[in-house]
């Protein structure tokens, strides 16, 4: 999505362009908004945080002699007397993907200066995120009532609880922060902060621009991305 032209100069694509970008002075990420580059650097550091959590989970699960709780049964829901494996987790996954799709469309409509569509889609994304957090709260409540604690649980290896609460809790925190910002930015879009050259933002003299929606989108897609890995390694493995 970056501009291949800077002040009329055509930037070279591919690896040739990369060597010229990195070898030149001034800016390395040419045609990339500084806020977007900084969000990516933040997401890279966040990737390392979540990787460390998942790797420590792998180490903990791999080194215990006690059987690991069977996630398919631990996370099952009873619907009409029938136990459906991972039902809640599957619904949570679909809700998060839905909100990821609305976010991607919001970015697209933002760049097309379609204020109303962009605003409604950001709002829909926020509501999707809120639904996800609500279902996660329900899941935590259910497991805590069943006796799952960070130091013990009735299903198997004691480490299960600490990894579960740490990993899903950290992810849930990211979702919650995302939801707060999505509501703020839905307001900013509807209020026209990015229209007619942009309105001055908070704590800055710089004018707003729809690129902020793409930066917000990067964060939101990252939250979805992390869930893909948690879903695979924690719930399915």
């Amino acid at each position: 999505m970056s501009d291949p032209q800077i002040e009329g100069l055509q930037l070279k694509p591919g690896f040739k362009g990369m060597s010229e970008d990195t070898g030149s002075d001034q800016t390395m990420f040419k045609g990339v908004h500084w806020g977007k580059a900084m969000m990516w650097i933040f997401l890279l550091s966040d990737t390392f945080v979540f990787s460390c959590f998942l790797i420590s989970y792998m180490k903990g699960r791999g080194s215990t002699l006690v059987d690991w709780p069977y996630p398919s049964e631990v996370f099952a829901l009873h619907v009409g007397g029938v136990s459906v494996p991972l039902l809640l987790i599957a619904i949570m996954t679909f809700v998060l993907i839905t909100s990821s799709g609305t976010m991607a469309l919001a970015v697209k409509y933002g760049y097309e200066k379609n204020r109303k569509m962009c605003g409604w889609l950001v709002l829909a994304t926020a509501l999707g995120g809120l639904t996800f957090v609500g279902m996660q709260a329900f899941e935590w409540t259910k497991l805590i009532e069943e006796g799952v604690r960070p130091w013990e649980n009735p299903f198997g290896a004691a480490q299960f609880g600490s990894f579960f609460f740490m990993i899903t809790g950290f992810h849930g925190t990211h979702v919650s922060i995302g939801v707060i910002f999505l509501f703020i930015y839905a307001y900013k879009v509807f209020a026209g902060h990015y229209e007619n050259g942009g309105k001055r933002g908070w704590f800055t003299t710089m004018k707003g621009d729809y690129v902020e929606i793409e930066i917000l989108g990067l964060y939101w897609h990252f939250v979805d991305l992390v869930w893909v890995f948690i879903f695979a390694f924690f719930y399915l493995w």
Binding site: D3, E7, L11, D21, V211, L236
Partner: protein, 114 residues
């Protein structure tokens, strides 16, 4: 400077179809990975299917929803090469958990060498 900053905004948008396709694919792939659990596949088949669908989903999200497919290589390479460090860390910790597992089995279950 003012002119340069203005030029930094992305100019092009993509057709809505590409987002719809990726969105649909993500739903289908999620459904498939849920089916892995539903049909209770076990062993290598289960693990390879889980990893396959996981990497496919992650790749689609990063490439299209996060626009990495259309970004400058300077940014893409800065973001993707550090992942090799994570891969190295995984290999180290696999060796570590195997050693810990062996030690626990040897000293707690077998009772040590004595």
């Amino acid at each position: 400077m003012v002119k340069a900053e203005k030029k930094e905004q992305s100019a092009s948008t993509h057709k809505i179809g590409i987002y719809m396709w990726i969105w649909g694919l993500l739903f289908v792939l999620s459904f498939f990975s849920y089916m892995v659990d539903w049909y209770n596949f076990q062993g290598m088949l289960r693990w390879s299917l889980i990893l396959f669908f996981m990497f496919l989903k992650a790749g689609l999200i990063m490439a299209f929803f996060m626009h990495l497919f259309w970004e400058r290589y300077a940014l893409v390479n800065v973001l993707l090469w550090p992942m090799t460090a994570i891969a190295c860390f995984i290999f180290l910790m696999v060796a570590e958990f195997e050693y810990t597992l062996f030690s626990r089995a040897f000293y707690f279950v077998v009772g040590g060498g004595a």
